[in-house]
Symmetry: C2
Subunit: 246 residues, 2 copies
Amino acid sequence: MSTVLSKSQQAYSTVHDRILTGEYAPGERLVLGRIGQELGCSVVPVREAIRRLEAEGMVTFERNVGARVAVIDEQAYLETMETLSIIEGAAVSLAAPFVSIADLASAREVNDRMRALLEDFDPVEFTNLNERFHRALSGRCPNSHLNDLVDRGWTRLDRLRRSTFTYVPERAAASIQEHDRILQLIGEGADPRTIELAVREHRLATPKAYLHRTDDPGDPEVLASAPGASPATSSRSHRPTTQGAS
Amino acid sequence: MSTVLSKSQQAYSTVHDRILTGEYAPGERLVLGRIGQELGCSVVPVREAIRRLEAEGMVTFERNVGARVAVIDEQAYLETMETLSIIEGAAVSLAAPFVSIADLASAREVNDRMRALLEDFDPVEFTNLNERFHRALSGRCPNSHLNDLVDRGWTRLDRLRRSTFTYVPERAAASIQEHDRILQLIGEGADPRTIELAVREHRLATPKAYLHRTDDPGDPEVLASAPGASPATSSRSHRPTTQGAS
DNA sequence: ATGTCGGGGATCGTATACGATCAACGGAGC
DNA sequence: GCTCCGTTGATCGTATACGATCCCCGACAT
């Protein structure tokens, strides 16, 4: 009795997927009428779908001009990673008390599969497992709103992250070790703040490596100043640093 | 020259506002046709507006049944506050290096107006100033995505927060002092993490007070376990063994 | 050569129309 | 008296139609 999806829903998920797969490239124009034809429906459902995608930030819309796939430039990528590091760190630390032994075992198994994948490296599969690993942990967070934000962060990232490990393959091995550490911290009931910072640093490590590899001249400070990520940032906080809490 | 807003936009902001003001109560049914009549337009623009509101979580939608104003229960309120505490804490700490002397002065002035408001207390005005104070700081955060999330958090909260200080008036005085401390930390270029925690605790203090006032027996752990919020929580974080959590 | 104006085509914005679906109600059968 | 089922009204979902707006491009004047 699975009710046929409404055309509006169809349009939504189709366009959504096509954006994720890259079939609709960033910046590409999304003409309502054309999409309607391709989907075999009129423009009305397509319009609704586009509206939702707009609200989710996947497409931009201009009055009387039309929609286009949102452009994700490097800046946006870095911001998304930084934001996700913050949100996910908090989510995992909140989730920690609710992570069962079974959950830990399951996550560990995923991590082992990643380890096995190191030889004969497959960036895409590796990335998929990576996402599974992380969702397994943050998913236990009792704050559903926070969870939702983690979800959105990953989705937002999916458009680029697909190839993250292609660009920075040397991160793979370190990543797995950091996963081990996170699991250990959770397992031994470490201080929430410690867990939070561990996850945060872990997530920030990849974009940092990415920046170092592409070009050092730029301005990697965007991430350098992430709170608590690197204790010794020495970022140009022109103000005298008074020592804070431990 | 201001181009007339599209009816879709009109519909969006009208419904949005009506939800915020409470004219449309939580759980209330939103009949497309009726709204269209009230706004003097057909249902199509209304549908689009509802879709966007749906994507933002302000309304829920059920196929072939219709839309209704999303219900915000106490749980959702607490989760939103907790989430905002995390996001805003990070945003302010990232913003700190970019907060100018003028910004600080401006924020201090807002805080002074709040102080003046303590006698002859006006919860609504107080709350407005409070939001202004906070946005002035987090607004300097260079991570626009994070900023956007702060914005959404406040908006989401606006539906309930309107009356927060009505419920917990004794928080007002403490709140102002905490503002002072935050300004001081930023002014002296304190460690980002210190700033982050200060903002986090500040935001969490109100819902905590709220919980204590309404009923202490309950289970205020939702917030007690916020990472780093209260160093001495000693939350009995016993891990659920094998068996699923919750 | 450059800048301005205007026509034409593509696309958007919205109203209207109509079939589809759901929920509520009331009567027939047990 | 209770359950089941068909009818009915309200509302949703979508197609179609048509006016409104914008962008592109070529002609004309400077």
